[in-house]
């Protein structure tokens, strides 16, 4: 009897993420019926597209039991560099920026795995550095956002064209989601990432290369952040040096809302997708309800704490950032 109650409680907590997504959507639908109109949905999928790769990326670092606070700043830097150059250099900038992401992940990952520094500190410092880079690069252009000149926009316009009624950016995000699911479920490296998050000692004894695995997690994360940054450039058709300031909160909140454990070892990209939907719905819904955008971060802060509090295991092992 007691066992049954317990397993129901576990089941409830494990699936509460779906409930929270439904709840958010219903509430905003009741406030404003046009929340679920075709136009609104199209709009939300465009909003969601850059957030999804970032959230899926940082999820790998969280599975491994670490954290990456630099993703927002990385997205800002990438957004600025892409925006300032894509008009002249063309779409090849995407490839350069992906390599830039790999490089950032490599540096973060090496400092954490080889240097044995806490990921919290390493990525907090990285955040400061890349945020500054974004602003410094913007300075000669007036310091703020800069639009891609009109006649060069042909280069980037394809991204917001619609296929099957939804923007191409969204379909790319879906493709990335599928790749992440494959990495998680079908590859040795994916399994190793979860293993070191759940029980690093057991993984090491089983012969897992812990250093290399952590490195991979950080690279996947930074590449995800870079993709997010590129997508913002293509979506906004401009370079915005402050675009990432809220993004890491949104991305981490999304992953937490999906029920991924911050102590590592548990989670999935599909769950992250539901979390991203919830966060996007909150963001769009608040816009449509006419709430002052300044309040958004207050809401994300509360949402993140609530999500972590509900999902965390109360065993005391939780929230240890390695």
């Amino acid at each position: 009897m007691e066992q049954k109650n317990k397993s129901f409680k576990t089941f409830f907590i494990q699936n509460i993420y779906i409930l929270s997504a439904v709840l958010v959507i219903v509430v905003f639908f009741l406030i404003n019926n046009s929340f679920l109109s075709l136009y609104s949905i199209q709009n939300m999928t465009t909003e969601l597209a850059p957030l999804l790769p970032m959230a899926c990326g940082i999820a790998f670092v969280l599975y491994a039991g670490s954290i990456d606070l630099s993703i927002g700043a990385v997205a800002s830097a990438v957004c600025v560099i892409t925006g300032l150059n894509v008009g002249e250099k063309g779409n090849i900038m995407i490839l350069y920026m992906l390599l830039f992401g790999v490089m950032i992940g490599l540096i973060n990952g090496l400092l954490v795995s080889k240097g044995k520094l806490p990921s919290f500190i390493v990525t907090l410092c990285a955040q400061s550095i890349y945020r500054a880079i974004a602003i410094i690069l913007s300075n000669p252009h007036g310091g703020g956002s800069k639009n891609i000149p009109l006649k060069q926009r042909v280069v980037v316009n394809w991204a917001t064209n619609k296929v099957l009624g939804l923007p191409i950016l969204f379909w790319i995000a879906v493709l990335i989601l599928i790749i992440c699911i494959v990495i998680e479920r079908k590859t040795a490296i994916g399994k190793s990432i979860f293993a070191i998050g759940a029980n690093e000692k057991a993984a090491r004894m089983a012969g897992v290369n812990v250093t290399l695995t952590k490195l991979c997690a950080f690279i996947l994360c930074s590449v995800g952040a870079a993709i997010g940054g590129i997508m913002y450039t293509y979506k906004l058709k401009s370079s915005v040096p402050t675009i990432g300031d809220n993004l890491y909160m949104m991305a981490i909140s999304s992953v937490a809302l999906g029920g991924t454990l911050f102590s590592g070892g548990k989670g999935s990209a599909l769950r992250t997708l539901v979390g991203v939907l919830t966060v996007t719905a909150i963001s769009s819904g608040m816009n449509m309800a006419g709430v002052n955008p300044l309040w958004k971060n207050v809401v994300y802060g509360i949402v993140l704490i609530a999500a972590v509090a509900i999902n965390s295991e109360k065993g005391g092992r939780d929230l240890i950032i390695k």
Partner: protein, 516 residues
Amino acid sequence: MGNEHNSEYAIEMLHITKRFPGIIANDDITLQLKHGEIHALLGENGAGKSTLMSVLFGLYQAEEGVIKKDGKEVKILSPNDANALGIGMVHQHFKLVECFTVLDNIILGDEPTGPMGVLKKAEARKKIMDLSNKYGLQVDPDAKIQDITVGMQQRTEILKMLYRDNEILIFDEPTAVLTPQEIHDLMKIMKNLAAEGMSILFISHKLAEIMEVADRCSVLRKGKYIGTVNTADVTMAELSSMMVGRNVNFHVEKKEQHLGDVILDVENMTVASKVHKNNAVKNVSLKVRGGEIVCIAGIDGNGQTEFVYGLTGLEPLVSGKITLLGQDITKMPIRKRSILGMSHIPEDRHKHGLVLDYSLEDNIVLQRYFEPEFTKSGFLRRNNIRKQAEKMIEEYDIRSGQGPITTSRSMSGGNQQKAIIAREIEKEPGLLVAVQPTRGLDVGAIEFIHKQIVAQRDAGKAVLLVSLEMDEVLDVSDRILVMYEGEIVGQLDPKTTTPEEMGLYMAGAKREEVKA
């Protein structure tokens, strides 16, 4: 060096010596494992069994001695080296990823992959199911570790070794966490494995199991090699006496006993285990009266630690009641228990005994700094603390580099323990709980600590001693309670019992009903 001799053994560990600071864990130990045999390694706690196996598995490197495989000398620097040589180990505490499935755990770190690093799970599954059928190792490959029984977790660990084609299998106290039925199954599995040509090292201190399953048995005692016997040629009693040795003459002077009132009364205490799903302490009742030293004896891991945690308030009880000096303390916080009259010399002096980075004097007043003698209006009275520390240093002969201001971390183990004992005894408790108070100490310190404990008893205090050392149990205590698998299985009188008899109780070969 005859060549035919070399090939007789799968593994030879010759003259292995491994030292840790202040202790020789393995002193010139030789162990030879024949092909296809089950070889038991028997010894009390601290005899050096685990250290020796850790050397073989590459977790430690020995200072002296060589390891040979099939007669050829090999170097084992890490578990991966051991694995490459076909040596696998089932650890006492399993090394499994809890939220992974059985299948994922078995292949972790040795995954079969195709192009682009994509897993070939079907292939792995087939190999695992074949092994599982061949050796009778029933597992559900898709169940998560956290949802399956301890027995199945262990079978997963065994499959992990077989999956890696290991042929030398180390089992580190494999039966400690199993139910009798699971133990029976495991014995059958081990015999199957040996029949298929695997060589098995079986670490245990349970005599009945060794007699049942092992072909030969090597005995270690206090880091030294005692001998190797064919189990068919010896009795349990003979093995027991090899394990515990003769009682070293190391007697403690005690005055005649004057029993006082009941000071501690534990009724039906049950404490949950952190390691497995069973309770670690099952329905234990006992009484300790003033003027007596009651000793809980037993082999490590039979619930003594959890019993003390429950008694001292470090862990909550599942059920039961504790009465100290007439007051119900079952749910009392630790500080209140301490003030009421419970002193605790903890098992792990670094974790629960001292704040290692505090000075000696701060550690001396660790449980009393809030008393008016040491605190006034929220400010510490440093002069009084200093005086108290100096008094303790003098009385208990605590030696340290700079006296009261020495950092506790820099002191030797014996002097750290003396500091704890000084602090705990100076509180003048009604009950002194001393857990392995002499572990890892030299003879001089041991003698001093025994004297202090006996002095408490002679002063009419109640003492509850928990010890793994046979000699200590027999020399110091007035009454012995043997704990086995979380229960009190025997009450013995140290004046009339022998180490051999006690060994039989400790190894679960004998038990009787004990009333508190």
